[in-house]
Symmetry: C2
Amino acid sequence: MKDIRELYLVYKDLKEITLIARVRNNRQGKVVSFLVLNDGTTLNDIQVVYKPETKGFDQATKARVSSIVEVRGLIVLTPGKQQEFEIQAQEITLLDQAIEDYPLQKKEHSPEFLREISHLRARTKTFQAIFRIRSMAAFAIHKFFQEKNYVYVNTPIITENDAEGAGEAFVVTTREDANYEEDFFGKKASLTVSGQLNGEAYAQAFKNIYTFGPTFRAENSNTSKHAAEFWMIEPEMAFCDLKGNLEIIEDLVRYTINYVFENAKDELDFCNENLEEGLIEKLNIVRNSKFAVNKYEEVIKILKKAVEDGHIFEEPNIEFGLDLGTEHERYICEVVNKCPTFVTDYPKEIKAFYMKQNQDNKTVAAADLLVPGIGELVGGSQREDDFEKIITRCKEMGIDPEELDWYNGLRNYGYYKSAGFGLGFERLIMYITGAQNIRDVISFPRTPRNLLF
Amino acid sequence: MKDIRELYLVYKDLKEITLIARVRNNRQGKVVSFLVLNDGTTLNDIQVVYKPETKGFDQATKARVSSIVEVRGLIVLTPGKQQEFEIQAQEITLLDQAIEDYPLQKKEHSPEFLREISHLRARTKTFQAIFRIRSMAAFAIHKFFQEKNYVYVNTPIITENDAEGAGEAFVVTTREDANYEEDFFGKKASLTVSGQLNGEAYAQAFKNIYTFGPTFRAENSNTSKHAAEFWMIEPEMAFCDLKGNLEIIEDLVRYTINYVFENAKDELDFCNENLEEGLIEKLNIVRNSKFAVNKYEEVIKILKKAVEDGHIFEEPNIEFGLDLGTEHERYICEVVNKCPTFVTDYPKEIKAFYMKQNQDNKTVAAADLLVPGIGELVGGSQREDDFEKIITRCKEMGIDPEELDWYNGLRNYGYYKSAGFGLGFERLIMYITGAQNIRDVISFPRTPRNLLF
C-alpha cells in the first residue's frame, strides 16, 4: 500500500490505488461528493470523488473530519484543476470514526489555542511544514558532520557542573529535602546548560566531534525566543583556530539550508506564504553570499555613528564593553550588512572564562553569528590553551578552578588550539521557517509555569 | 593539511606530508628515533622516523607521551613491515608539551580506572573504537528512518508524566522544599522515562515518526546493563500492526550493523580481537539470517522442558504469567535459537496498559527482541486503539486515566492501528562492540552515587 507522498511521485504510471488516510474534509454535493484526505507523509492532500453507487457510500457520507478511511479507486488526471489528479472511489471503508467535537475543525486557530493542544496541532499544515523542516534540518546537520568524519558524542544531560555562570540550572533529585549527600548521585545534580566542556575533552581524543542534544535553562523569561528546554549542536575541533571555526559555522548553516531546499521545498514554500513574506528570498541570500565579518570594536563604532545619526536604541549608551542586546545585533545584520554577520573579538569581561585571550589583553577570540530577525544564532570561540591563563580567568570571574580541574587540566596533556561553537537548533528552525515564536518550533514546549503533556 | 585518516587513503599518491598529531610513543634508538602519532581520526597510528640531522631533533627527543607535534616529512613505503608506510621527518615542531604524569602512559589500564578518567579514556584504542562505532550507529539509525520519510521528533525531556509505572523518575526542580506549586513549572516535573506517548501523538500527524534522545531512570540498580541516563530510539507508525512493527525492528537492526561494517570495519575488527571473541561471526549471523519468532506461550513450554531436562534457572518456577528474566531471555536466544529472537504475545498483566489486547483476552500484541549476550534489546507493541478498553486497562493497572486524558483521547479523533517500539541505544552498542558494561559505551556514565565530570 502506498502513502500519499509516494502516490504523488508515481501517480502518472498508476491506474488504481488503495490508501489509508485521515479525513480533512467531507463535502456532499448533489451529484458527487468529495473527501479530502491526508496521511501526514506530505503537505499535499488527495481529493477523492464518490457517488451513491460507490461501495460504502453510506459509511463515507458519515465520515467526520479526522476519521480514518480506506479508499480503493481509480486515478484520474485533472489537468487545469488545482490538483493534478484525483481519485474516483470504487470503495470506501470507514476504519475509525472521529467524535464530533474534534478540536481542529477546518478553520483558523490562534497560535495560543494551538499551543494548548500540542498533541494535535502537528496535524495542521503549518506545523506539518515546521516539524518536517525541523526533522530534515536535524538530519542535514548530522550528515554534514558525519561526511567530515566528526564523531557524534552524547555528552551527559545530568551533570555535576552548575553552568559555570551560563545561566540558572535545574536541579535533578529524588529527594524532597535537598539533602543532596543522601541523594541518588550522592551530590547535587543539575540539568546541563551546555555539553561544551565534555565535548572539548572528546575533541582531544577524536580531533573533530559534535554534540546534538537537549540543554536546559531555568530562566524565568517569557520571551518569544527563550524556552526552558531546547536543543543545541556543539561541535569542537582540535587543532583549529577562530578562523577555521567561522568557516565551519558558515558551511554548516548554508549546508543545512540547502538540504531543506532540496528536500522540503513544498514546506518552505508554505512557510514563505504563511509565516514570513520574503522567506525564500532571505534564505537564498544566505545560500549565495558570504557572511559579513565585523570586529566587535568596529560594531561599537557603527552603533555610535547610528546613535549620532539619530537611530534610537533602548540602550543608547554604546561604549566598548557593552554586552550587545538583540536590538544592536539586529541593527548590524538587518540594517547595516543585510546578511548574516559574524561579530568577533569581544571584550573578555563579557565572555566566558574559557575563551582564548588575544594579544591585546582585552579581547578574546570569540565570534557570534547574528542573523536577521533572530539576533544571535551561534556563539563560538577558540579556547584558551594556556593552563595558567585559564586558571587566572576562572578566579577573575569568580569560578572555583578546583571544580573544573579535569577541564582546565586538559591543557596539561598536550593541547594545541581548540575551537568550537554552540548552535541553538530552535533558533535555526525559526530562521529557516519564519516561525515567530520558539514555542511553535518545539513539539511540546516547556516555559515558565507551562508544562503540558 | 591532511589528517591521518585521509593520509591512509591517499598516501600512495603523495610524496610529502605535513601533519599535526598527538604523540603515543617516542623511542630513541642509536641511529634513528621513532615517534608514533595519532590524531584521533582513525585507529591507525603513523610511525615517524627522525634522526639527529632532522630539523627540530632536540625538541622531538623531548616530546612526551600525549604531546602535540607538527611533522613535515617524506612518505616512504615500507612493504613487509607492520605499517604500509612511514614518514621520514624533515622537520618536527613540538607544539605543546604534555606534563610528565599523564595518566594514560602506554600500559594496560583496568576498566574501573579508566571510568574515573572518562575525560581521557576516549584516547585509548578501545574507546576510540567503541565511540566511533556509537557515532556511526547513531547516524545509521537516522539515515534508516529519514530514507523512509519518518519525521524525527524531539519529544520533551522534562515532563509532567511520572512514567506511568515504567520505573522511578527523577524530579526536576528549582526549589529545595518540594513546594512544586511554586516551582518553575507550577507543578511537579520529572525527567522523561520514555518519549513514546508524545511520539504516538506525532505519529497520528505524520504517520511515521521516530525519537532519538536521552531517557532517565532513578533506579538504584548497580548492574552492568543499567544506567540512570541512556538514549532511546522510539519509532511509531500509524496504520501499522505488530507484524509490520517486527519487520521494521529487524530491518533497522540489520541496517545499522551493515552500516557499521561498511564504515567502521577497523573498529569492529579491533572489538573482535579485544572485546568479544567471535563478535564478527555473531554479527554476520544477524546480517544474513532472519530473526526467530516465538510466542510467549511457546517460550514458557520450552523453558519448562529445559527445567525438566535438568537446566538450572535462578527462577525455576516457569508458569504462564512469569515476567521473563535475563537468564530466560538469554537461554531462548543463545541456547535454543542461537540468534536474535522475537518473543510475542505476552500476558497482559506483565505489560503496559497501552498495548493492544488480543482476541484471547489474556495476551497483548507485544514483542520483545532478545539478543545473545544482552537479553532484551527492543520492546514494542501494537497500541490499544479502543478508547473504552484503554481506559479500563488504566484503571486495572492503578493509573488515573485523567492524567493521561490527552493520550487516551487520541483514540477519539480517528485512530486506526498504531505500533512502535523502543530500542535501547547503549544496549545496541554493547551488542555491536562486545563491550560488557554499559558504563563503557557512554561518554560520561551516570549511575547510583556516580556523577563525575
